[in-house]
């Protein structure tokens, strides 16, 4: 069946997730080469493009990390075909090295860099504002406010990139990526696959003498971009009145709604920056001259605010321009319609049309529902075995962890996560911890994260003879972001050819790790023994725990377990293993057969052997 985003029906309105709309915009632009490392909230863009690549001439790959993804896309664009790389906001940190110099080198065909920011950190470790990457690199940036705009802007981004011969940053936030709205389809352009690379080392090889010229060129390109921004229809000025509001992204929606709700349509002018780097200085000056006071509405950092204040200073304007502040907007988290309405009302000194929130002080405490590792998750079995082995050590254990489902190991009763800063940091920080502490360091990293950025840390550990154990939790997929492939995955199970599976074990051995073992974490005793040996080893030891993700393991036959009357209520299973399939009925432990996948770990740890497969009894 033809992919739903390939409907060639210009003018038709369809309901799309923001990420689908972005993928559609890329298809409409005739995207030829795409690359990504998955990361929420950007993941569905890549999922759709990867599926589409199976049906069209689009080449799309899951790269090992964002830096590689950007380099793949850069080479394609340098060779004259349209390319795109897709990543979450922190992914751009990983790709920041190519980004900064790619801005010098530029592109031949259109290249779009999608960066998805995550204000409020629904699924992220920080809420950095990636608009600063536009200022830092000098690259042009576009920011949509609606779903249909996300589609149209993606398409336009390729044109803009070709006009300026520079990659274009397309910056979204979670509420664009994961919002759904009507999208009006445009025609799908054919893919121009004719790649051609013209050797031009004195423009393309960034030795110092070349880069000095390229930096001059970049500044000229920024000037040209600014002149395009000045006349861009993505920079919208609407309304009339003496009050001015400047905003971007989803904040524009909240501003528009607030103006209607507060009935200040005739007092308020709004300037929405869509082509937001470089800002259109002349347009903003004219806007500032036409109003008495200005409020800047932007989630995150005072990015627009700082620049607009500088623009006002240059123009000799002395009007009040405010955005962030104690009684105004926060630099923290995401905004919502009521927050924006209330700040607008207070800044322009009018009354807010407040809705009555019911008094909920008499509502009893409602038990929480934190996310949890799934029933039968191999990670839980690994954590359990590590903890048992660690009990035999006479020193405290520090657990640096990494980014993936297994970060949930932070929750009790496992409580096995002590330090986390970024992708791959488990390995690098273990080098530091083990050097300075008189404790045992045991680090956790997933298969995909290991390929992403764990390998350099491990090489460092071997070279510098650090002393720690790295546990590689190999579930054969990139689970947290929606089961994307990684280089360790056997792609033939999805009927996909032309991939080479890379063995983590061979890789680790080739690095020269002196102690390597491979375990199946459902085998509890063997796993504990393997960890004990690894912990006792003087030097770097690696234990690879292989168990396919329980959510997608099609091969596994489900066989639920149950608790028999041999149970003496030690509750070792509940207190130390805590599988979500467990529940208590009249203070007696039971297993929900609908959730149990039959991993049999609880059966192995029960001191009374009271847990048996369901069929054994019947």
């Amino acid at each position: 069946m033809i992919h739903k985003l390939l409907t060639d029906h210009p003018g038709k309105t369809e309901l799309m997730l923001g990420n689908e709309a972005i993928a559609r915009g890329a298809i409409e632009a005739g995207l030829c080469v795409g690359a990504t490392y998955p990361g929420t909230p950007s993941s569905e863009i890549s999922l759709n493009l990867f599926q589409i690549s199976q049906q069209t001439d689009l080449y799309f790959e899951y790269s090992t990390n964002e830096k590689v993804a950007m380099e793949v896309a850069a080479a394609a664009a340098a060779s004259g075909v349209r390319s795109m790389c897709i990543m979450k906001h922190v992914g751009l940190n990983v790709a920041a090295d190519p980004l900064m110099t790619l801005a010098y080198v530029g592109v031949k065909a259109g290249m779009v860099i999608l960066t998805a920011d995550d204000p409020l950190m629904f699924s992220s470790q920080n809420e950095q504002d990636n608009r600063y990457y536009a200022l830092l690199s000098g690259l042009p940036m576009l920011e949509p406010s609606s779903i249909d705009e996300a589609r149209a802007m993606t398409q336009y981004a390729f044109e803009l990139s070709e006009t300026l011969q520079e990659p274009v940053l397309l910056r979204t936030t979670t509420r664009i990526n994961h919002s759904t709205g009507p999208v009006i389809l445009d025609a799908i352009s054919p893919i121009n696959k004719k790649a051609d690379f013209t050797k031009d080392p004195f423009r393309l090889v960034t030795i110092p003498s070349v880069s000095r010229n390229l930096h001059i060129q970049l500044l000229e390109n920024i000037k040209q971009a600014e002149s395009l921004s000045e006349i861009s229809s993505w920079n919208i000025c609407t309304g009339t009145g003496q009050w001015g509001i400047i905003c971007n992204g989803v904040s524009y929606n909240y501003v528009k709604d607030a103006i209607v709700d507060l009935s200040i349509e005739n007092q308020t002018k709004v300037f929405r920056t869509g082509f937001s780097h470089p800002l259109p200085v002349q347009m903003i000056q004219s806007f500032l001259k036409a109003v008495d006071k200005v409020l800047i509405v932007e989630e995150g950092e005072p990015w627009i605010e700082t620049q607009v204040k500088a623009i006002a200073q240059d123009a000799g304007l002395n009007i009040s321009i405010k955005g962030k502040g104690e009684t105004l907007f926060s630099r923290l988290f995401e905004y919502d319609p009521a927050v924006v309405r209330s700040v607008i009302a207070s800044y322009f000194e009018i009354s807010d049309s407040k809705t009555t929130v019911p008094d909920l002080s008499d509502v009893p405490e409602i038990p929480g529902r934190p996310p949890n590792l799934c029933a039968g998750c191999g990670h839980r079995a690994t954590f359990y075995a590590v903890k048992q082995a660690a009990k035999t050590l006479d020193v405290e254990v520090i657990y640096p962890t990494d980014i993936g489902c297994y970060t949930l190991g932070v929750l009790p009763p496992l409580s096995m996560a002590d330090y986390l800063i970024c992708m791959g940091s488990s390995v690098g920080t273990s080098c530091g911890f083990s050097k300075v502490l008189d404790k045992k360091t045991v680090a956790f990293i997933g298969d995909s994260t290991f390929f992403h950025s764990g390998i350099p840390g491990l090489i460092n550990a071997v070279f510098n003879q650090h002393q720690f154990t790295l546990v590689i939790l190999d579930n054969g997929t990139t689970a947290m972001t929606g089961h994307q492939p990684n280089p360790g995955v056997d792609m033939t199970q999805w009927n996909l050819d032309n991939f080479t599976q890379i063995s983590i074990e061979k890789l680790v051995r080739a690095i020269g790790v002196p102690h390597v073992s491979v375990i199946r974490p459902y085998q509890v005793k063997k796993s504990i023994e393997a960890f004990k040996e690894a912990f006792d080893f003087k030097g770097v030891s690696v234990v690879i725990a292989q168990e396919p993700c329980a959510l997608i393991n099609k091969k596994r036959k489900k066989r639920a377990f149950q608790v028999t009357d041999r149970c003496k209520n030690h509750r070792v299973c509940l207190n130390e293993f805590a599988c979500p399939a467990f529940y208590l009925e009249n203070q007696q432990l039971k297993i929900n057969p609908a959730q149990c996948i039959g991993c049999a770990v609880c059966a192995q740890i029960c001191p009374e052997n009271a847990i048996v497969p369901v069929k054994e009894l019947s």
Partner: protein, 196 residues
């Protein structure tokens, strides 16, 4: 046209996102502007999944506390937890079949009393429609159709400007072919539970 704001709360796996999609498709065919938002990612490992749907002329796709006109809850304690989204004139439609969180299952939390949940929702909002959607889904032939049972109930309340026919068409368009009949049955049962 008047803006109607709907919040849907559910536990991961209850089919909240599909229900939102059906509502969105129905709005699209009814020529009503709709903006929706949802939370993916970490929230899906057994956590709460919340969708916001804004029908009408508003531009926002999220709903502030105290501003939802309608709350559709797939699980009673989650409906109660989401009352901060409501105002005194909100309508609430909720499934009354509990799905106790793990903390309760293992004796480390107390699930609120169902009668108390009902009373509290009635006190704080204008109208409450409660039903055992899980049981009705079972009757329809598939326990996974809880989401569509609740859409039937929601449609019957006429809290949204969407007709039964528009909803049924949207179900046919959105769900997998093999499940259309079960889901249409589920929709009817949810509708009847409210009309009765």
């Amino acid at each position: 046209m008047k803006t109607t704001r709907l919040i849907i709360v559910a536990v991961g796996g209850q089919g909240n996102l599909l229900a939102s999609r059906v509502l969105g498709e129905a709005a699209l065919s009814a020529n009503i502007h709709v903006g929706m938002s949802e939370i993916h990612g970490m929230a899906q490992r057994g956590g709460v999944v919340e969708s916001a749907l804004v029908f009408g002329n508003a531009n926002s796709t999220i709903i502030s506390d105290g501003e939802a006109d309608v709350l559709l809850g797939f699980e009673p304690s989650e409906t109660l937890r989401a009352l901060n989204k409501c105002h005194s004139r909100s309508w609430v439609i909720t499934n009354m079949q509990p799905l106790p969180p793990f903390t309760v299952n293992i004796g480390k939390g107390v699930y609120p009393d169902l009668n108390q949940i009902t009373e509290l929702i009635q006190q704080k909002t204008e109208r409450l429609f409660s039903l055992n959607a899980t049981e009705l889904a079972r009757q329809a032939g598939n326990i996974l159709s809880v989401n569509i049972v609740l859409l039937g109930a929601l449609t019957a309340t006429k809290a949204l400007p969407l007709t039964k026919e528009q909803m049924q068409d949207a179900i046919r368009k959105t769900v997998k072919k093999a499940f259309i009949d079960v889901n249409l049955k589920a929709f009817e049962l949810g509708e009847q539970a409210v009309l009765r």
